[in-house]
């Protein structure tokens, strides 16, 4: 096979400069999505009136459509929406000045929110009700039980699922190249087409993603071991 091995390394170095952007496109949506997901999960568990159906619809729709659709809908839809609002209320605000990355971040955050809400919900539901009763019986308020008893255990148990979502969104960030964001895949595309060495550039990008995934998994398994140490049973 005719592969230009030195070029893989050259491409790798060039693509590496896009790593911070990819990491931002991964972790910002996960953090924002976590807050959305927590709200949505609580709304669905406590069946908050009005919000409950909206939350259900949101989770179902987002999980039922490809992430590329979310990015495109926000990328094309949000400017239209904001423009018409700006016209109606006379805002002095120019949507064209907003960088594309912001749209991608909004879309991925909304997407992550739906996936994370399911994980948080299943984590919360898995906490034994005896724990909650014990919390109430020592006089804790509903809020205290949630923040001190339920959430810490729910999140500790959800770490494997959270790792999967983190890896999934690292990879989902590659879709941003379709709206010409220069993250890893976008940069690989540029390196590939400007040197006409497609295979080499994508091998380099693949290796970079692979490496980052392995690092994320290593860190996650460390965190998992620490966070679930309380629950390991036997002698510890």
């Amino acid at each position: 096979m005719q592969l230009d091995y030195p070029f893989i390394w050259e491409a790798f170095k060039e693509i590496l400069t896009a790593l911070p952007l990819t990491l931002m496109l991964t972790f910002v949506p996960l953090i924002v999505g976590f807050l959305i997901g927590l709200g949505v999960a609580l709304a669905r568990i406590y069946r908050v009136k009005g919000v409950y159906h909206v939350a259900n619809g949101y989770v179902s729709f987002v999980r039922g459509t490809p992430i590329v659709m979310h990015i495109m809908l926000i990328y094309f839809g949000l400017p239209l929406l904001l423009d018409s609002l700006a016209k109606r209320y006379d805002w002095s605000f120019n949507i064209n000045g907003v960088p594309i990355t912001i749209f991608v971040l909004i879309a991925l955050s909304l997407s992550a929110g739906a996936y994370l809400s399911e994980i948080i919900r299943s984590g919360i539901v898995a906490v034994p009700s005896g724990q909650i009763e014990a919390g109430y019986s020592v006089g804790m308020t509903k809020f205290q039980v949630m923040t001190r008893i339920i959430l810490p255990q729910a999140l500790a148990q959800s770490i494997p699922n959270l790792t999967n979502v983190t890896v999934g969104f690292l990879q989902a960030s590659s879709i941003a190249f379709l709206v010409s964001v220069k993250e890893i895949t976008g940069t690989a595309q540029i390196v590939a087409s400007s040197n006409l060495k497609f295979l080499e550039a994508f091998i380099a990008a693949g290796l970079l993603y692979w490496g980052v995934t392995i690092v994320i998994e290593l860190i996650a398994s460390r965190i998992d071991r620490r966070a679930t140490a309380y629950n390991q049973g036997g002698i510890g």
Partner: protein, 234 residues
């Protein structure tokens, strides 16, 4: 962009796009079938700890998990022709659909193999012992006793993963597949009504996902009807 949003267009676009849904579903079907066979082979290699091959499978699984769909598509699209050229086979003019099927089959194979492995491990070992005790060979006990039982454990996960593959096919247009998404991109180029096209496609994807989810539920219920809960009369 630049044109006024016209929601009537959404309903005009849906029938046009639906014609191309068939291609998406065909790709999904072939990839799933090949993926099931590949997944079974990979699972067996790991379960029986075949030396060398077993380690290679682990690396392959890690690679599939560690790289995005898009990168895998590009690697197959550019890499497969280069690889086969070494053996004197020229496939550079092959239709994009084949590359898409190869990519998704490899990906599905990796995902399915993990599902099968845990499902096979989920079958009670007493079943194997019982099979051996009536004189079955390890092969017979695996294929006649363990595998059929593991299928019902694996089914919900396989169904979920097929549904998520359906969503993943939306990226296949990047290597030139003329499926629903590819047709959508062409519609956008022709009409400049991007938002309407994407709304129409989202509606279709959402509908197909909901239908597949329901179908999986019904099928699962039917397949497990022999496992109806024991009614205790008191």
């Amino acid at each position: 962009m630049g044109k006024v949003f016209d929601w009537h267009l959404i309903f005009d676009f849906i029938p046009t796009l639906l014609e191309y849904l068939m291609i998406t579903l065909q790709v999904l079907f072939y990839a799933t079938v090949i993926g099931l066979v590949l997944g079974l082979i990979l699972a067996v290699i790991r379960l029986f700890r075949v030396p060398v091959l077993s380690q290679l499978v682990v690396v392959f699984l890690s690679f599939i998990r560690g790289t995005p769909m898009l990168i895998q598509l590009f690697l197959v699209f550019y890499g497969l022709p280069a690889l086969l050229l070494v053996f004197g086979v020229d496939i550079s003019r092959m239709a994009p659909a084949y590359f898409v099927i190869v990519t998704y089959a490899l990906r599905d194979g990796a995902i399915f193999s993990e599902i099968f492995r845990s499902a096979i491990k989920g079958v009670d070992y007493g079943q194997t012992e019982a099979a051996m005790s009536v004189g079955m060979s390890p092969m017979q006990s695996f294929f006649r006793i363990v595998l059929p039982q593991s299928a019902s454990i694996a089914f919900p996960n396989v169904a979920n993963s097929v549904i998520s593959s359906l969503k993943d096919t939306s990226l296949a247009f990047t290597i030139g597949l003329m499926d629903m998404m590819g047709r959508g991109e062409a519609l956008i180029a022709a009409t400049a009504h991007a938002l309407e096209v994407y709304i129409a496609m989202s509606i279709i994807y959402y509908a197909v996902v909901l239908i597949l989810e329901q179908a999986a539920k019904v099928f699962e219920k039917r397949a497990n009807r022999h496992k109806a809960p024991v009614v205790v009369l008191d």
